[in-house]
């Protein structure tokens, strides 16, 4: 990283420099002879490869012999009830994540604020919602009517049992739990930004909120996005717990069909296929999001998978990669 590095390609080498001479008379120096050697044989790799393939084959064989009605899996994969359940899984996951993100930013800023009261409240929230299992939290919301039969918040009053629909239980249970995890992720992201950035921004006359929005958070995003992607993919799967509080998500829809049609295992496989599809789609999205926030921190962005495929194709079709 020097000036020389930047200038070098632009400057013509002087006529009498050795570089210029070598380029002017290529015939005088024949290209070096390539080394031809017998490559090392990696017997261990061959052996372990064979063992792994054999074990995998046995697994496939076991499933093919097992009493799985693969046809039933195919019959139900696009069943309306399954698709509706998947829609609800997606809905509850996205909404819970949105709640988690908002709460995460709010509680992270509260924890980092100079006000000791907000800091303590944020700490308490994170301590409780991260310290208890999300399944227990869902059951707590589900049974809230046992201790508060009537919900009364001044302008709004109703029977708790009417307020706490399965959807509300799922949303509050997952969203508040996610908020605690997101708060810690956002806090780590904000703290990862060098203090010099805040100082430079302040020195230019930018106030605290502009400094946070324009300078700190965009840089914190690079640290926040990867674990957030993990959190969301985790949440997609954790959301299957809401089946226990009678919310008809993908898991519960599959269970419902399974218990009436005696195809328990088949329906669980159907659910697994859809969970895999969803997590795969969001993993790809996460990759592109991370790439977006790597701007400026990497000198060259990593290629997208599509770019990689194109490059590999062009390489293998014209010359061997080794020669290039």
């Amino acid at each position: 990283m020097t000036d020389k590095f930047d200038k070098a390609p632009a400057e013509e080498p002087p006529e009498d420099s050795p570089v210029a001479k070598a380029e002017a008379t290529p015939a005088s120096t024949p290209p070096p002879e390539q080394i031809k050697a017998i490559p090392v044989r990696h017997w261990g790799r061959w052996a372990s490869g064979v063992i792994v393939v054999a074990l995998f084959g046995m697994l496939i064989y076991a499933f093919s012999q097992g009493n799985v009605q693969w046809g039933t899996v195919g019959d139900f994969i696009f069943d309306d009830r399954i698709l509706a359940g998947m829609g609800r899984t997606l809905l509850i996951s996205v909404l819970s994540m949105a709640i988690g993100l908002v709460l995460g930013v709010v509680f992270a800023v509260m924890r980092l604020s100079k006000n000791p009261v907000t800091g303590a409240v944020a700490w308490l929230y994170i301590w409780f919602f991260r310290g208890t299992p999300v399944f227990v939290q869902l059951l707590l919301w589900f049974n809230l009517a046992l201790i508060f039969p009537i919900l009364n918040i001044g302008f709004y009053k109703d029977e708790m049992i009417d307020v706490m629909t399965p959807f509300m239980v799922a949303l509050l249970g997952l969203g508040l739990n996610e908020g605690a995890y997101m708060a810690e992720i956002v806090r780590a992201g904000i703290q990862s930004v060098d203090e010099g950035q805040t100082e430079a921004s302040h020195a230019l006359g930018m106030n605290n909120s502009k400094t946070m929005r324009r300078v700190v958070l965009p840089q914190a995003m690079r640290v926040i996005v990867p674990p957030t992607g993990n959190e969301f993919i985790n949440l997609l799967k954790t959301s299957s717990l809401v089946a226990a509080v009678t919310y008809v998500d993908l898991t519960r829809a599959a269970q419902n069909i399974g218990s009436t049609s005696f195809a328990v295992m088949e329906m669980l496989l159907v659910a697994s296929v859809w969970y895999l599809v969803l997590t795969s789609i969001f993993s790809v999205g996460q990759y592109y999001l991370e790439r977006r926030y790597a701007r400026g921190s990497l000198r060259t962005l990593p290629p997208t998978p599509w770019q990689k495929v194109k490059r590999n194709l062009s390489l293998s079709s014209f010359s061997s990669p080794r020669g290039a």
């Binding site: 010099g196 100082e199 302040h202 006359g205 930018m206 605290n208 300078v215 840089q219 701007r295 921190s297």
Partner: protein
């Protein structure tokens, strides 16, 4: 002529550590004022007090006739709100030892950011000025590069352009060349020399004695939180009066 910066008995301590022990000095408009001294002498801390990145504990410090960080009413001092402090800082540019460019913005965006966000300037106007400033520091062709794609010397020149974009009355330089490879120092000093010729008021914390002698109008030697010696740079550097100044200069010259 009122002083651009006036310090009277300025004290600063972090807990038990007493960093500044009564600094008195005056910087005239259009003056290039050099602060030199061993590390830990408090020169950077003093510089950071001038734009209120650090708060002083005692004494009076004013920039262009306005008290830094406080408002005086009768015989009482009122702390300024954050927004008022920010407003004061608009007129004071600062260049850091570690550049502190915004890494997620290109060179051009770095220079455009503050005028747009702070002054609410139109994008086209900010862009036009940013391009002109980058040209001036010799980086017109690097405007689309991110800081990570620039050398240290280039980054520091972008940082100077970024500070100039706010059209400050006063520029603070906190060891602007200390983090640079020796071969890159010259470009940055050239830009600073140009600024001095245009009449910018500059306070420069530096170890570049050559620059101080050649460009400086005034020089202060600080040690252990006090001003040991002050005067014309050529006099102080060639004929130091104080033993501590002599000892320091014999090491760095």
């Amino acid at each position: 002529m009122t002083a651009m910066v006036k310090a009277e008995g300025v004290h600063k301590s972090y807990g038990a550590a007493h960093i500044l022990k009564g600094i008195d000095l005056e910087v005239a408009p259009r003056e290039v004022f050099c602060l030199v001294g061993p590390s830990g002498s408090g020169k950077s801390t003093f510089l950071r007090c001038i734009n209120h990145l650090e708060q002083i504990n005692a004494g009076r410090l004013s920039v262009d006739g306005r008290l830094v960080g406080y408002r005086e009413k009768g015989d009482k001092l009122y702390e300024l709100k954050d927004s008022e402090v920010a407003a004061h800082r608009r007129d004071i540019g600062m260049v850091f030892q570690r550049f502190n460019l915004f890494p997620h913005m290109t060179a051009l965006e770095n220079v455009m950011e503050a005028p747009i966000q702070v002054k609410g300037e139109a994008k086209a106007v900010a862009r036009e000025r940013a391009e002109r400033l980058l040209d001036r520091v010799g980086l017109g062709d690097k405007s689309r590069n991110y800081p990570s794609q620039l050398s240290g010397g280039q980054q520091q020149r972008v940082a100077i352009a970024r500070a100039l974009a706010m059209e400050p009355k006063l520029m603070l330089f906190d060891e602007p060349t200390s983090a640079l490879d020796p071969e890159l120092v010259g470009d940055v000093l050239d830009v600073m020399r140009g600024l001095a010729e245009d009449g910018m008021t500059m306070i420069v914390v530096t170890h570049e004695m050559g620059f101080a002698r050649e460009v400086g109008d005034a020089l202060v030697f600080m040690d252990d939180g006090v001003v040991v010696e002050a005067g014309n740079p050529r006099d102080v550097l060639t004929n130091p009066q104080h033993d501590r100044t002599k000892a320091f200069l014999s090491k760095v010259l």
